[in-house]
Symmetry: C2
Subunit: 144 residues, 2 copies
């Protein structure tokens, strides 16, 4: 495997992700770093995120508009999350059931290298309309 160098940009980006408990996109991350006085180019942001993802150090989700969001993965295995559309608040959820289900599918089909994607999202307590009984927004149509 090709060796990678320790650079200030990379450690700064990783550090930022480690201290964030929500998903963040490349551009918001760039802005956060800029505000903190770290001017790192978008190329470097993208390349570093891609590198970290390859190394299994990040979990990723996709926004409806296609934007990729990243979150530091504390453990050796991927996690599943419940995220708030509005503010990005992220809860780690136990998806053992889903893992087992995916494993079962894996074992009962002749597909190889099966990968699964599971994302849960909604509106958190703070962002949700306050009188849910009244005529609030309707739940979005599920798109899977």
């Amino acid at each position: 495997m090709r060796s990678h160098r320790h650079t200030s940009r990379r450690s700064r980006i990783l550090h930022e992700l480690q201290h964030l408990d929500s998903f963040i996109g490349a551009q918001p991350l760039h802005i956060r770093l800029a505000v903190a006085g770290e001017h790192i180019s978008m190329s470097t942001i993208y390349r570093t995120l891609h590198l970290l993802e390859t190394q299994g150090r990040l979990d990723t989700i996709r926004e409806p508009n296609g934007e990729r969001l990243y979150r530091y993965r504390p453990g050796p295995h991927h996690q599943h999350y419940l995220t708030c559309h509005e503010c990005g608040l992220t809860l780690t959820i136990d998806a053992t059931v889903v893992e087992d289900w995916a494993e079962h599918i894996r074992a009962t089909t002749n597909f190889a290298y099966i990968t699964h994607t599971v994302e849960l999202s909604g509106l958190c307590n703070t962002c949700a309309p306050q009188q849910p009984a009244h005529s609030g927004p309707q739940p979005p149509t599920e798109t899977e």
Copy 2:
């Protein structure tokens, strides 16, 4: 709700989707139709796909590169699929377990309007390397 008109393009697009048992993107769909002699602009393809999706007539998945793929949804509810990265072959799978799990999460958190995304993909029998015991490609890292 605004009324929608019956037009030849729209029925042609829907017809094409109904007779396909795999997911397809806007551009491949455009090409298929063109080959069949139907020259429908990309704008119309995109607008129609969006309309059908809004109406709950399509299921969607996203490719790693961000491309949206669509598939006709035969029933009133969304389905879950196992798709082949390589050829697009699609199997409908029973995801009752996951539905119940999502419902459980829904009931035990104070998030509102929870939506879930579940995608399974891999390589089908035909596309997978033929001697899996030998040094074939390694399973891709799961990215969820």
